[in-house]
């Protein structure tokens, strides 16, 4: 097959944004370890953007890894599978880090579990061909993505098959793999790119086939030269191009990555497919390769456990539904000065009140911050310095949006384009008055009457 290789037209960066301390060194050199199978997992039936799944298993039913656990008829949803061998329990409720209460099915671990080596090999090992992929029809790839329960693993957890599905009105010319991992601290994607680049490349090529994209790009920030190297080596002989972007937060935000790599601006309120792009996370690409080539669903994912408040930071391959406590305990537990446990990274993650919260498909990391890390100077009035304006990657006026949200002035909020806010938190990061800008805006977005 002949493909035209186009040079990406982006400038490698976007306007505004911030440079928080990266602190990736905490876990960057810790090779991926397999978390020993916990005694029990609790699998939430909503782990993605879209409809909640319905349980397909009965209490006390024996389950094997990869068996269908729950599914939904809805278009935007993704089935959920058992992540360990064991016995299903009574359906209960789990509270997700974002505060949502969702139904969940507990699974008690049976005697028989795969060994760590086998599991790692099953997920990442073996051969990942980069040629001969024509044998998979686009529909077949999309179906595998759906059956495998694939969702975006960068955090947003949007069902992958919906993105890949052919849309005659919106042709796709570029598959963009997001390997930016711009959140400070987190290194899960980094470890995958360094240790297991092959399934990522294969997954990228499959995704390109699924939506007939001519071009496959992998965007990586320039603070990960090793990942750039390993990916380039693994991509040799294919049309996959690795694009190096400037290290800046939120470079990994979909709209920013597209702008930086391709120079295309996603219209306000629009989606990447409006500019002919599908963005998928590198971890999702690896899972796609596994789903298509091996017929295995998404049952495990790599989670980075990091921060100054954790004894032994690391990167773990964990079954979906394992509790944050299992991960933290495996990494030596919390240090005495640990103050905040965050699901995700420190910029966009949610704090956990309860460590028994289960890991979901969208969990990219656990960041434990210490008292020192989270100290904030007292709040003052807005001094109208405009720093939030200079930091906002969406070019908004955060101080006005926060004011509008606080006063519930929805006309003002709309006038200043509140819906364009991607909740990246840059504004609150820089505000010298320590105003909870994004927090207010988020609240405003949630409370604003929908038209």
């Amino acid at each position: 097959m002949t493909r035209t290789v186009l040079t990406p037209a982006g400038r490698g960066t976007f306007a505004h944004g911030v440079h928080p301390p990266e602190r990736k060194n905490l876990a960057a050199d810790a090779a991926i370890e397999v978390l020993p199978t916990p005694t029990q997992v609790k699998i939430p039936l909503l782990q993605h953007v879209g409809a909640t799944c319905e349980s397909k298993v009965k209490s006390k039913q024996e389950l094997a890894i990869g068996e269908l656990l729950a599914d939904s008829e809805a278009f935007i949803s993704a089935p959920i599978h058992a992540s360990i061998n064991g016995v299903a329990g009574m359906q209960s409720v789990a509270t997700l880090p974002n505060g949502r209460h969702v139904p969940a099915v507990p699974v008690a671990a049976g005697e028989n579990q795969p060994s760590a080596e086998d599991l790692f090999k099953d997920v990442f090992g073996g051969d990942w061909p980069t040629s001969g992929l024509e044998q998979y029809a686009p529909e077949q790839i999309v179906q595998a993505a759906r059956d495998g329960g694939l969702v975006g693993q960068g955090g947003a957890a949007f069902p992958t098959y919906v993105k890949l599905k052919h849309n005659p009105e919106k042709p796709i010319d570029t598959i963009l793999l997001n390997g930016c991992e711009c959140e400070p601290y987190l290194t899960a994607d980094y470890r995958m790119m360094v240790e297991t680049p092959s399934p990522i490349i294969t997954g990228a090529l499959l995704a390109a086939r699924a939506c007939s994209a001519k071009r496959v790009l992998i965007a990586v920030e320039d603070n990960k030269p090793l990942a750039v190297d390993t990916l380039r080596r693994a991509a040799r002989g294919t049309d996959v191009q690795v694009v190096v972007l400037k290290t800046k937060y939120p470079q990994g935000g979909e709209k920013q990555t597209i702008l930086a790599t391709l120079g295309r601006t996603v219209p306000a309120g629009g989606l990447p497919l409006d500019v002919g792009v599908v963005v998928i996370n590198v971890g999702t690409a690896a899972a796609l390769a596994r789903a298509v080539l091996r017929g295995k669903p998404l049952t495990h994912r790599v989670v980075c456990v990091t921060g100054a408040g954790i004894e032994r930071p690391g990167n773990l391959l964990v079954p979906i539904g394992a509790s944050y406590r299992d991960l933290i305990d495996y990494c030596g537990g919390l240090k005495p000065d640990a103050a905040r446990v965050i699901a995700g990274g420190p910029m966009m993650g949610f704090t956990l009140g309860d460590l028994d919260t289960p890991v979901t498909k969208g969990t990219s990391g656990v960041t434990v911050l210490t008292e020192r890390d989270v100290q904030r100077p007292g709040e003052t009035n807005c001094v109208r310095c405009g720093r939030c304006v200079d930091a906002c990657p969406m070019n908004l006026v955060p101080t006005r949006l926060a004011l509008a949200s606080r006063g519930k002035d929805w006309d003002l909020a709309k006038k200043y384009h509140i819906t364009s806010c991607v909740e990246c938190g840059c504004c609150a990061y820089v505000c010298p008055a320590s105003l909870p800008l994004v927090q207010l805006i988020r609240m405003g977005k949630a409370q604003m009457p929908k038209e």
């Binding site: 928080p20 966009m348 949610f350 309860d354 460590l355 003052t380 384009h417 990061y429 988020r442």
Partner: protein
């Protein structure tokens, strides 16, 4: 104990739950910004000390003291915590002191400071709510009320009447701006640069203002767009005037720049309170626009008004009025310069 509890029971409630982001740029706080302004003012304060000795410090003490006291009293009346730790009252006091003449009577300085805080800031709701630069409100009030005490004549040194006056390093008896306006006298560039001339405490040394101003811009406590706008406007307008003069009356490049008995473009920039105003007064974040574009427009406006007042009005200097005028259009500028969100046309 709390630690033990945490070790045994990681989910003990000592873990805070808070909305993200969980990091903050601790280099940037309101207090740090104010501290930066104080650091930026250091060269100016040194220059004022060299040229005006203890008289400078008398004014600093009176103004800063009165500002802090006023702030404390107002907070007590409004039953709010005293916001002194944010240092903004100290900054207002210093800026006001630096924009007064060395011999401003104590009562004038006290009234100016009290007005700056009460009418300039507190009645609007405190830091961040005011429309006008508080120090300039105080300055304008006393200037209009006590014109004789601190207006242009006050700057003139009456050596004969005050033989004990220790100030002798200076070269002329009036401020460069007054001298120019009233008698066409031209202060040499070097004096304007170093500051051994008359003027308000903080304005005489262009060099000190530049040094401190650069620091503020590098720290990004002051937005460079504002001083850039002010200076650009002043340079363009005075160049136009000089160009016209050169075309009609002749005169070389030296004339253009300003030296050898001619008040040129460079004199216009270095003389008077232009640099002090551009770097320290106009850059007050509260009373200037939000966006970089807005800030530049604001700076241009201040520069244009300064030149207008200097050239066309009876006043020798116009920084104060220029800043207050532009303060009043800041909300308008903000409305004109709302940035376009990414992805909109």
């Amino acid at each position: 104990m709390a630690e033990e509890a945490k070790n045994n029971e990681p989910s003990a409630p000592v873990l805070h739950v808070a909305p993200g982001p969980h990091l903050q740029d601790v280099n940037l706080t309101t207090r740090r910004m104010m501290l930066d302004v104080l650091i930026g003012l250091a060269p100016v304060i040194v220059a004022a000390t060299i040229f005006f000795r203890q008289y400078a410090w008398l004014q600093f003490g009176v103004c800063v003291g009165t500002c802090c006291l006023s702030e404390a009293i107002c907070s007590a009346i409004r039953r709010k915590p005293i916001p002194l730790p944010d240092l903004s009252a100290v900054v207002t006091g210093l800026i006001l002191a630096l924009s007064l003449p060395w011999n401003s009577p104590i009562y004038v300085s006290v009234i100016g400071s009290a007005v700056a805080i009460v009418l300039g800031k507190v009645i609007f709701g405190g830091l961040g709510q005011n429309i006008f630069n508080p120090a300039m409100v105080g300055r304008a009030f006393v200037m209009l009320s006590f014109a004789a005490a601190i207006g242009a004549p006050a700057y003139v040194l009456h050596t004969g009447e005050n033989p004990a006056n220790p100030i002798m390093d200076v070269v002329s008896g009036a401020t460069p701006m007054t001298a120019l306006k009233e008698s066409g006298g031209v202060t040499p560039l070097l004096a304007l640069l170093l500051g051994n001339t008359y003027g308000s405490l903080g304005e005489t040394s262009a060099l000190a203002c530049l040094l401190g101003g650069m620091y503020l811009c590098i720290r990004r406590t002051a937005s460079w767009e504002i001083p850039a706008g002010v200076i650009l406007a002043a340079v363009v307008i005075s160049s136009a005037i000089e160009g016209y003069l050169a075309a009609t009356q002749g005169g070389g490049l030296l004339n253009f720049i300003g030296n050898g008995g001619h008040w040129g473009v460079l004199s216009e920039v270095l003389g008077g309170a232009l640099l002090f105003g551009a770097f320290f007064i106009a850059t007050d974040p509260v009373t200037s626009p939000l966006t970089p574009k807005g800030k530049f427009i604001f700076g241009l406006g201040v520069g244009i008004f300064i030149m207008f007042i200097r050239k066309l009005s009876v006043y020798p200097e116009g920084v104060m009025f220029a800043v207050l005028l532009m303060n009043s259009v800041t909300p308008l500028i903000n409305r004109w310069t709302v940035p376009k969100p990414l992805g909109t046309k």
